[in-house]
């Protein structure tokens, strides 16, 4: 009778040992593909586009004003004394410098704003990716490509690509939260 228990127990120990030494399971996905197909990201891009247009108009108006003032100065220059010229030139240079700084700040502001708006979506994607990995028993998920489009994974079995799975769950959870 005892033997009936011993044999399965030994078999179980044997199988368990082999199982725990199984090879690492690696999946991959392309986060850019997921993000490019989400409505939430399209909405973020719309907001950013609007911000870009507002700032562009603002800067364009300042640049036009500066250009007009520069032309006006050029026209009036021969009638100005040395001191007045220096004052006007310094003013124009300072405003030009300020405009350049504003342009740089504006680019930083846009980049930061986009990153800030995308952050919750990326966090959600990471969470979904972890769920899929756990369900599929994946140890690692590699990025399929860099943001510049360079391939990290050139070839792998399609069943290890979890991009579509993550995308469809993101879409479903987006729809659920809307309802």
């Amino acid at each position: 009778m005892k033997q009936h228990f011993i044999l399965p127990a030994l078999l179980w120990i044997f199988l368990f040992t082999v199982e725990t030494q199984a090879q690492v399971k690696i999946g991959y996905m392309n986060p850019s593909v997921v993000l490019s197909q989400l409505d939430e990201v399209a909405f973020v891009d719309q907001q950013i586009e609007q911000l870009v247009q507002e700032r562009d108009t603002e800067l364009m108006s300042k640049a036009n004003q500066l250009q007009q003032d520069f032309v006006a100065y050029e026209e009036a220059r021969s009638m100005l004394n040395e001191e007045a010229r220096i004052i006007r030139e310094e003013d124009l240079l300072a405003r030009d410098q300020q405009l350049q700084e504003e342009r740089e700040n504006y680019l930083n502001e846009i980049t930061q704003k986009r990153a800030q708006l995308l952050q919750p979506i990326i966090e959600k994607m990471d969470q979904v990716m972890a769920e899929v990995a756990q369900e599929k028993g994946l140890d690692l998920i590699l990025n399929e490509a860099t943001s510049y489009g360079d391939a990290i994974v050139f070839f792998s079995a399609e069943e290890l690509n979890i991009t579509q799975e993550v995308l469809s769950r993101m879409i479903t959870s987006g729809n659920d939260s809307e309802n």
Binding site: K2, Q3, I6, I13, T17, A22, V24, I141, T146
Partner: protein
């Protein structure tokens, strides 16, 4: 008799188990991963490197600023006399100022290249130390591969690692220990 049969079964089971382990060890691909940029950022030598790079950058900016001021002065001087010089002289002056501006742009490019070169000179030996430590840890842990977690442009190569895998195969801390960073 029963004891003997159990002992025989146990014996075969152990033999089979050992064989399976040996086969598994032979074929098992052990993959680790490391974040060298985080190690580099935490290396004590990096403070001195950053300081030297900042000094180098400040010096180059000063040189460029002097050249730019000189150029601006010459442009202002030209603007003052533009109404009273001949068309030929104007053309010559404008060509000279154009060349000066070109020189200024080139000086900016050269300064950027010099900064990159300086960074390579200073950071290169640290990266070599990190590389050697990665190799040492990989050998100790019997890893077949060690992957980088992130590209130099900040793109993630490893998007996810399970908790268990991370605990076993993220060798970033071990590499820091190998480098003596916690001593």
């Amino acid at each position: 008799m029963r004891t003997l049969r159990i002992a025989v079964i146990l014996f075969f089971s152990i033999v089979l188990n050992l064989q399976a382990q040996a086969q598994s060890n032979n074929s098992e691909l052990k993959i680790g991963y490391v974040n060298p940029q985080s190690i580099l950022a935490n290396m004590p030598e990096m403070r001195a490197v950053q300081q030297r790079l900042q000094n180098f950058t400040a010096r180059k900016q000063q040189e460029l600023s002097t050249l730019e001021q000189e150029f601006q002065t010459q442009v202002a001087e030209y603007q003052q006399k533009v109404g009273v010089i001949s068309a030929d002289a104007q053309q010559q002056e404008e060509a000279r100022l154009g060349q000066l501006q070109q020189d200024l742009l080139q000086a900016q490019e050269v300064a950027e290249q010099e900064l990159a070169q300086r960074r390579d000179e200073l950071v290169g030996p640290l990266l070599e130390q990190i590389g050697a430590a990665i190799e040492a840890v990989a050998q100790k842990q019997g890893l077949s591969y060690v992957l980088n977690t992130t590209t130099s442009s900040g793109d993630m190569i490893i998007l996810y690692a399970s908790e268990d895998f991370r605990a076993k195969f993220d060798i970033t801390q071990s590499v820091m220990e190998e480098l003596g960073m916690f001593n």
